[in-house]
Amino acid sequence: MTDNSLSDAPPPAGTIVSIRNVSKRFAGGVTAVDDISFDIAQNEFFALLGPSGCGKTTLLRMISGLETPTSGQILIDGQDMSLTPPNKRPTNMVFQSYAVFPHMTVADNVAYGLRVTGVAEDETKRRVGEALEMVKLSHLAQRKPDQMSGGQRQRVALARALVKRPKVLLLDEPLSALDAKLRDDMRMELTRLQETVGITFIIVTHDQDEALSMATRIAVMDKGAVQQIATPSELYEHPRSRFVADFIGKVNLIEGRVVGKKANAVILDVPSIGKMEMATKDIVGETAAIAVRPEKLKITKAEPKDAKLVKVKVAIRDVAYYGDTSDVVASLPDGQDLYVTVQNESRDGGSGVERGAKVWMSWEPKDSLLLTE
């Protein structure tokens, strides 16, 4: 698998991290990372996104030097650092557990990385002061970590890493241990920090919302391999595979059989719906899936007149009311359930759909996507 086939756009000039054919096999034959290659550009806010066990954390740890690849190379700022110990790399990490040293004050924690590398004490003091200022913790400098909240400890971890002025800041699931309210604050804070300090951020997360809202580019990983690298909107609107479509947001996948091929299009036979033509540039095998997001589906009582629309008669199986929207589960004639998000525009009973009703479901062909992988 090469970089070009996965990345929709070439990375911006000025590559800072280059992953080349990196594999990591653990004792016992588990392959955590399987021959991955891609580049990360300077000043990117890059997210490694995937379900647990997909190899994203292992990849991050290999960039930091806490693990080494079994094969392949990791270049940081043009230098091969695959086997360089972590203390000799221009990267710093914010750990998932924060790893704020419990026997040191906040100031000592932040100063640690400068002291061990022999930065002069007055410069250390100044930089620690600035770093604490940046994360708004100056008033807690003399506190011990056990007297602080999770959110505060995370800021200490951030300041401690940023004070080293790394070329790349690595963040391992930085929001996972915070409660919902703090998580939103921290998300904005991280975006703000990245813009102020102008350092490349690489974040590992299993939460698609986190990745979509913060990152400039996202690599979706599964089973040790990169499935797709793209900007958040590209990922959402143009997923490359069933996995990516399903992982990023909610999606309805309707499987069909390929019965005819044209230039840049195929004819698909879909049970319940019938034959339909779908534009595609990919090489298509025997089967393919149509992907439609729930919010792109329309429900009407009467059959829609527009001939361009794809339409099918469905039975409403369940309705969940959320105020502004309702989630509707509708069954196709062959029994497959589709998810539809309906905007509740009028106050009298919302969308007017109710359990058991037979209604028409339709969508515009341009809102659906053909997935072959």
Partner: protein, 281 residues
């Protein structure tokens, strides 16, 4: 340029560091060498100089026929067996007590319970000797018939074993969901029924581990046994002690090998019972 890591090896993979493996191997070698030499010599032909003269089972036969040695071994096993039963019951009760109740002076009580664990064995040994001598129990008990003549040793062994059992059982109880007890009482079970049907089954791994710990502690003990055995009672450690002081005899090796075997088996079983808790914390 700094020293590089090896491919696939992280900076914290100390388990793969050669020097650490070497320290471990050397330590194991030094720990086990004397024990294996002792076992090997139990199969050696008896000789004065102590060099290897050939394989024989004669030492085991000699040990078997040495009625003093055998009755000493039997005494030690009897002591361990009886002490274990008492220590386990008493220790488990203390564990439940400390786990279940709040009461005034509890820290001091817990401290007193830990005393037999922390004070030097020799202090406890001489204190027991003095106590038995002063109360006349030493003369009184050693004239009783077997196994009551072992009473002085058994009492002392129970005293230093049960606090250990209490510690082990209590650490098991920490994981107990108290609502199970409440649910049992809510369903109409009495205090006693709840205890025997809910709490005891839950404690069982802890009880077995505690009992085996008490058994090995009792068999392992030399110091307290040495001070609390009367002039006419001979226990295995005391018998070996007197034999060792008069020179190396290979039948001692044979008897020791048997005792080692018993201890090792008991310990391995005990650790098996404790293992699930260690992984589940």
């Amino acid at each position: 340029m700094a020293e590089l890591l090896k491919p696939g090896q992280g900076p914290l993979d100390y388990g793969k560091r050669r020097w650490l493996q070497a320290v471990f191997a050397v330590t194991l070698f030094v720990l086990y060498l004397p024990i294996f030499v002792l076992i090997a010599y139990s199969f050696n032909v008896q000789n004065r100089s102590g060099v290897w003269k050939g394989f024989t089972l004669e030492n085991y036969a000699k040990a078997w026929n040495n009625s003093d040695l055998m009755s000493a071994l039997l005494n030690s096993l009897t002591i361990a067996f009886i002490s274990t039963i008492f220590a386990t019951i008493i220790g488990a009760m203390i564990a439940v007590l400390l786990w279940r109740f709040r009461f005034p002076g509890k820290p001091a009580y817990e401290g007193a319970m830990a005393l037999p664990i922390v004070i030097p064995e020799i202090c406890m040994g001489v204190a027991m000797l003095l106590f038995y001598a002063r109360t006349g129990m030493m003369t009184g008990m050693t004239h009783l018939s077997w196994p009551f003549n072992l009473g002085t040793i058994i009492i002392a062994h129970i005293a230093f074993c049960f606090p250990f059992v209490a510690v082990v059982v209590r650490s098991r109880l920490v994981g107990f969901n108290r609502q199970l007890e409440e649910a049992s009482k809510d369903l109409g079970a009495s205090e006693w029924q709840t205890f025997t049907r809910i709490l005891i089954p839950y404690m069982m791994p802890g009880l077995i581990a505690g009992a085996l710990l008490a058994f090995t502690l009792s068999l392992d003990d030399f110091v307290i046994t040495f001070f609390t055995s009367g002039p006419e009672t001979v226990t295995f450690p005391v018998k070996i002690y007197s034999m060792v002081k008069t020179g190396v005899k290979f039948e001692v090796n044979a008897a020791s090998t048997i005792l080692i075997l018993i201890t090792v088996v008991a310990t391995v079983i005990a650790m098996k019972f404790q293992a699930p808790e260690q992984s589940g914390h």
